[in-house]
């Protein structure tokens, strides 16, 4: 379709719609519930994208990304409260702490089969939870940390309007997605795909699989740490149970990717758009029934694994291919009839 000299194909149309969709919340009531939910959706999409870097690209299945999330939140918040260091700098520091933790964890694990990485990351998040609860001098203990509300300023990472937080969260999602996109295309994209499909053959073809997996997982941990800072600043409060939560964070970000499509650029956003509102509905309508929310989450997870383990994007692509084939077959038949 030609429109004033600009060729408008389906792809650019989708991107245009997407850009508009991201702009709509700017017009929402800054104190409203809706903006908060939309912000949460995008924040979880960013977190899932961080997981997607290691889980989807390097095929290292982390079950403990809450660990890196929590390290980011604790690092920036403690630096801010105790040293008065701007959370923006704290965000980078938190990313570094998370990346170093990933490095130390990965060195013994990457030579082993994938199960061990999943086991160890899960255990790592649990252990950080114990440390955060027990060493109260360092972490304020089990009650968690409330970030004191000071003068709203950019340097303090505190804003008057929730709309500003929304903008920050969208920027975070954009940055993590850009990193994902950079890694999944170009020469690195080839290498990561090769590692994913056949590690031995990749190694023999001259790819340093160990280093690439290590680097990729550290990038993933770094970005997850950044998400932790933004989450802390956005919610003003967190505690060890919630920030290092396995079902609330670690499994959730993986599930978002699985639903949307692991290793796909738009998988996390699609997954978050479905899962986060669903969780929200479950919590709001049935909050008096303990356990129903996670129960529903687990049913969705199991169903997704059994029926569509490659996610909605793949399902959609398959449907489209089938439709095209059918179309081709029909036109072929028509031609044959003539």
């Amino acid at each position: 379709m030609k429109f004033k000299g600009v060729t408008l194909n389906a792809r650019t149309a989708v991107y245009l719609c997407l850009a508009v969709a991201f702009l709509i919340p700017l017009g929402m009531d800054p104190d409203g519930y809706l903006l908060r939910i939309v912000s949460m959706v995008v924040l979880f999409a960013a977190m899932a994208q961080a997981w997607n870097i290691v889980g989807g690209l390097a095929n290292q299945l982390s079950l403990g990304h809450a660990a890196f999330f929590g390290l980011g939140a604790y690092t920036s918040t403690l630096l801010f409260i105790r040293q008065g260091i701007s959370p923006w700098a704290g965000m980078l520091a938190g990313g570094v702490v998370a990346a170093v933790a990933m490095l130390l964890l990965s060195i013994p694990l990457f030579r082993l089969r994938g199960h061990y990485f999943a086991l160890a990351t899960l255990a790592f998040a649990e252990v950080l939870k114990i440390i955060a609860i027990h060493f109260a001098d360092l972490t304020e203990g089990p009650t968690g940390i409330t970030i004191p509300y000071g003068e709203p300023s950019f340097a303090n990472f505190q804003f008057e309007s929730n709309t500003s937080y929304y903008v920050v969260i969208v920027a975070l999602f954009a940055v993590v997605s850009l990193i994902f996109w950079k890694l999944s295309t170009g020469a690195m994209g080839f290498r990561l795909r090769a590692i994913r499909e056949n590690e031995q053959a990749a190694e023999v073809s001259g790819i340093d699989t160990y280093r690439i997996k290590l680097g990729t997982s550290m990038v993933s941990a770094f970005t997850m740490g950044m998400c932790g800072t933004v989450y802390a600043q956005f919610t003003y409060f967190f505690d060890p149970e919630s920030i290092f939560s396995m079902t609330g964070i670690s499994v959730r970000v993986a599930l978002i990717c699985i639903i949307g499509g692991m290793g796909r650029l738009w998988g996390p956003l699609i997954g978050a758009c479905i899962l986060i509102p669903l969780d929200e509905i479950a919590v709001n309508t049935m909050s008096d029934v303990a356990g129903l929310g996670p129960f529903v989450t687990s049913v969705i997870l199991i169903a997704a694994i059994i029926y569509e383990p490659r996610g909605l994007i793949s399902a959609w692509e398959r449907l489209r291919r089938r439709a095209q084939k059918k179309h081709a077959a029909q036109s072929g038949q028509a031609a044959g009839a003539v």
Partner: protein, 286 residues
């Protein structure tokens, strides 16, 4: 010195239980090739089954072992057939996340049914103990340990003397060869999983006299079980038993110097240390 021996003894009594609850995890991995992240939740199910039998029938948890084992065996068999079978040939991501899903499912299903309150049983020997050479042996710990030993012997007899046990071991060693020998591998998978989770559940049932149960009790044991099976070598059944004893002793000795809450931290360090230096487990020589 006496305190040290006492600690060692406590550790062994604990470790026998850890061995039994972890054997199932290793057995399932050895035969099906998947790490069952929901294994600890079957221990929790076993505890609830035993508690329910005690609460409604007045059945002692240790005497109720056959009943608990049978109930969880059936649940495990059904879960394997319905949920695990479809992903056995799927990539690791599907297997890992399926059992993770199962873990959350079981925990919250129990929470929905029984609520979050702690449940415990009352039995006559709960507080009693024996004094031998200045050492104190708690009777419920001793009973649980003895039950664990009996269950291990029964498992060993099952695996070595029955046709089905041999079929399980054959499948673990070489699936294709087992098929050629006329073994129905799908059936072996389902039964192995059922036996594996029933063992773990029994380990849960026998500790009920000295342990309260809540839906989240499994989570407390998850890291412990990982450490046990990694120590023994993932997939190594005898190794899991040895690993259990080692972990029991480590835990009991570390309790002399460290607060109880930090025991999982110690276990995690053992876990990572083993993976870094002896990933095939303690029993196999490098």
């Amino acid at each position: 010195m006496l305190a040290f021996i006492q600690s060692l003894l406590d550790g062994i009594l604990l470790g026998g239980i850890y061995g039994v609850i972890s054997i199932g995890l290793s057995l399932v991995f050895g035969v099906l090739g998947i790490v069952n992240f929901a294994q600890a939740q079957f221990m929790m199910l076993g505890m609830y089954a035993a508690w329910f039998a005690w609460d409604s029938l007045g059945l002692d948890p240790i005497l109720g072992v056959p009943l608990t084992g049978a109930v969880i065996f059936i649940i495990g068999y059904a879960i394997e057939k319905l949920l695990l079978q479809p992903v056995l040939k799927a990539p690791p991501v599907a297997q890992i996340f399926l059992t993770v899903g199962l873990m959350i499912l079981l925990e919250n299903a129990v929470l929905l049914i029984f609520g979050s309150s702690f449940k415990s049983v009352v039995v006559s020997y709960q507080q009693s103990g024996l004094k031998i050479f200045g050492l104190f042996i708690s009777v419920p710990y001793l009973f649980a340990f003895s039950a664990a030993v009996i269950v291990c012997i029964a498992l060993w007899l099952f695996l070595s003397k029955t046709w089905f046990g041999r079929a399980i071991r054959a499948t673990a060693q070489d699936e294709n060869a087992a098929v050629l020998c006329g073994v129905n591998v799908k059936q072996v998978y389902a039964l192995t999983f059922a036996v594996g989770v029933a063992l773990t559940a029994i380990g849960g049932a026998v500790i009920l006299p000295y342990m309260t149960v809540s839906p989240t009790v499994g989570g407390q044991f998850a890291i412990l079980m990982f450490t046990v099976v990694v120590l023994g070598g993932l997939g190594n059944v005898a190794g899991a038993l040895v690993g259990g004893l080692v972990v029991g002793v480590i835990q009991s000795l570390s309790a002399m110097v460290l607060p109880v809450q930090l025991q999982n931290l110690i276990l995690f360090m053992v876990f990572i240390g083993i993976l870094a230096f002896k990933p095939e487990g303690l029993l196999k020589e490098a």
